[in-house]
Symmetry: C2
Subunit: 327 residues, 2 copies
Amino acid sequence: MTDSVQLLGISNAIVDVLAHVDSAFLDSIGAEPGSMTLIDKDRAHEIYNQMGPATEMSGGSVANTVAGFANLGGSAAYIGKVRDDQLGRIFNHDMKSLGIDIRLDKAEDGAPTARSHVLITEDGQRTMQTYLGACLELGLADINEATIGAPKAILLEGYVWDIAEGPALARKAVDIAHKNGTSVALSLSDSFCVERHRDSFEEFVRDGVDIVVADEDEVMALVETHNFDDTLKALDGYNNLFAITRSAKGSVIIHGDEKVVQPAAGVRDIVDTTGAGDAYCAGFLFGWANGLPLSHCAQYGTHCATQVIQQLGARIEPGLLDGFEAR
Amino acid sequence: MTDSVQLLGISNAIVDVLAHVDSAFLDSIGAEPGSMTLIDKDRAHEIYNQMGPATEMSGGSVANTVAGFANLGGSAAYIGKVRDDQLGRIFNHDMKSLGIDIRLDKAEDGAPTARSHVLITEDGQRTMQTYLGACLELGLADINEATIGAPKAILLEGYVWDIAEGPALARKAVDIAHKNGTSVALSLSDSFCVERHRDSFEEFVRDGVDIVVADEDEVMALVETHNFDDTLKALDGYNNLFAITRSAKGSVIIHGDEKVVQPAAGVRDIVDTTGAGDAYCAGFLFGWANGLPLSHCAQYGTHCATQVIQQLGARIEPGLLDGFEAR
């Protein structure tokens, strides 16, 4: 079995609704700064009605990574559920325009395409209030030999566990992937998400996942530690390749006895941290998919994350690797 | 009769779909750089399918002005036709969130909400391919004593002449406005639009319009001249207040014997010229609505335009006049 792509993303397909707010706004809606909260349709209307003018752009954590991977020059495919509405058409357009193979048809009925209200405060931090809509209808039937194919890797996100059939479809995807010699990567999404699904993640990481991409808070939540040294010790018990981002402290790659410590790049002006982890993941996996050493993968990831925090919006631009050389 | 607002805009309600393109893309779709072309639904699909990933935000020339006017602290209302679809709800949300009084209900059926594909080239220039959709269904019945009220001024745009009942509804709006002591301002939209409707504009400016806000190309198209000196002479024959923008040459205000020459401000980095004229109009009318001398109105306009060309997106941000003093 062959597949034309290097990376297949499976995730929640979301349109971001971005607006600048002050911290009083977060207080007024009871949102913890920096958190991602799942909200229902009524609450989504309520928050949107209180928000200022917004900008809409395609988002979703792993969808951002897949888009970034394609923009770096990688070949990619995507599985996510949108409704056949204007936001769903926007989402699919933006992916297809990067050459990404969209493997599911838009839903003709059901809940509308998901949107995440991304509230950006003066410090560049993002607080997300996410209505999952059509994403909740992604089901086991959407995952099969035809939609998975045989890419070099599939990439799942922790947020998939927030949908009803999420754990089951992740397992089904892994089974198909491993049968076809495809590697499995998992982005842990956010530490609250890890806390919501820790036991299932733990089992899945130990049995199914080859590569974990996550920030240090997420990894600490997974292995139940409270500082980074203890975390590194705890990871001794895992066989996975871990790529762990640490914000200003850079990133650390662990794979068995191999350990790469990658410092962060200097940044003049942080505009918006949205998508930093997704961009890192795109760069890292692009290096990995092209067979580069882990130290180069880490440099690619850092380079991508550094760009994305200096712009408004979560997706990296094309041409980012022009002139860039890992060393 | 009283009205709570200073400015009522009547215009095409459009969601912008913004993307960076190279000039080869403009060639490939046969678009003249810097132009605004009206396209039908099929052509809109075709162009969108060829475009890269985009960002969606509320737009429309006079709608941008009204939003800017509200963001400067003015009170505003708006008449424009959107469909009750996701883009229509986005458009209305963004206006309402600025405190703008939306005076028409969303259409339950008919064409979808309008969108303009705004193609931004490396030089910051915009080329627009606009599908008017629901805007074409704005009709005479939408213009009445209740929707017009008695604001200090109404602001129409030349683009309204591109819709079937446009000239008739503009005339009806003017008749209601003047009966209520409301002034009438007209933005000439673009020089091609002026050429499409010159005779009707000429008649309307001479009989109905108090204030014309336009760039020099548009005014030249209106008075059929080929240089600015001849244009100024031709304007001797008009009683209107003209606020004429001239890009890097600043702006000139003419009202009878009064003439104000306002230089442009220095700009470090032009990001996107979209909305410069709309922002100027917002600042100018904000000064005018607050009874400031024309020289101050021109400085307000310049200040607003200067900000908007240094950002991606056509609408000016709140707080822009904080610390700003006309002198």
